[in-house]
């Protein structure tokens, strides 16, 4: 039986299908007590999507498919995460990264490539993975990364 919840967010009232609920057993760093989120899409802001907290809808994080920004992004999911989220196949994994959008200067937005959010779409369990020791940083300038990605793609042509 499908349960639908209604929540009021800054995007207006949303009907959430429980099937789309994403569960963070550990919460998210900074919001450890908040475990239930949903990804909201809005045409106006695509491809930026919004990770909205169900219990506290004022908590909203802008997220995006990181490969739209860094074409050669490499996410190494450790065994602990694979077990915790019960990941059975790479195909079941959805990855989004958090954006910080300065309100006075949105062109300078940054993306956190060091800590991607990993979601197992089969069971909706998720975690913000922290790739300590990787080449990535917490703040990559989106406009610079896009330019870099463009160069990479042009070389391949």
């Amino acid at each position: 039986m499908v349960k639908i919840q209604k929540i009021v967010t800054k995007f207006g009232e949303l009907e959430i299908d429980e099937e789309n609920l994403i569960h963070f057993e550990e919460g998210i760093p900074g919001f450890e007590k908040h475990k239930n989120f949903v990804i909201v899409e809005r045409k106006e802001s695509e491809p930026i999507k919004w990770l909205v907290c169900i219990d506290e809808p004022n908590i909203v994080l802008p997220v995006i498919d990181p490969w739209l920004i860094r074409v050669d992004y490499d996410v190494k999911i450790d065994e602990g995460t694979i077990e915790m989220l019960e990941i059975e196949s790479e195909k079941d994994v959805l990855i989004v990264c958090v954006l910080v959008i300065p309100p006075d200067n949105p062109k300078n937005m940054t993306i956190n490539l060091l800590a991607p959010i990993v979601i197992n779409v089969k069971n909706n369990q998720a975690r913000q993975l922290i790739m300590e020791g990787s080449e990535y940083k917490i703040r990559h300038k989106v406009n610079e990364e896009i330019k870099r990605s463009q160069k990479i793609l042009l070389k391949k042509v």
């Binding site: 930026i48 739209l68 074409v71 077990e83 910080v100 959008i101 949105p106 913000q128 989106v142």
Partner: protein
């Protein structure tokens, strides 16, 4: 309420947290200490500064959620979705 438990350990001595986590003092070198950690795979073990930085970044991200148009920022550049 969380309280800080302070224990003194010598090199090679360990601390158990619960039944599954062990913290061992591996080496003491001048001002730094090498700490060995044995913990179940699912438990995240991290330098605190890194966790705090990510925490700060997430909180910052949640502050700024104006519905903006991505195209305005990137000039409409798009890539194929790899995943």
């Amino acid at each position: 309420m969380i309280s800080l438990l302070v224990l003194s350990r010598k090199k090679e001595e360990s601390i158990m947290i619960g039944e599954n986590i062990e913290i061992k003092i591996v080496k003491i070198e001048g001002r730094s200490v090498k700490i060995g950690i044995i913990a179940p795979k699912g438990i995240r073990v991290l330098r605190k500064e890194l966790y705090d930085e990510i925490k700060k970044e997430n909180i910052e991200a949640a502050k700024n959620t104006v519905l903006i148009s991505f195209k305005d920022i990137t000039g409409g550049v798009k890539f194929e979705n790899k995943s």
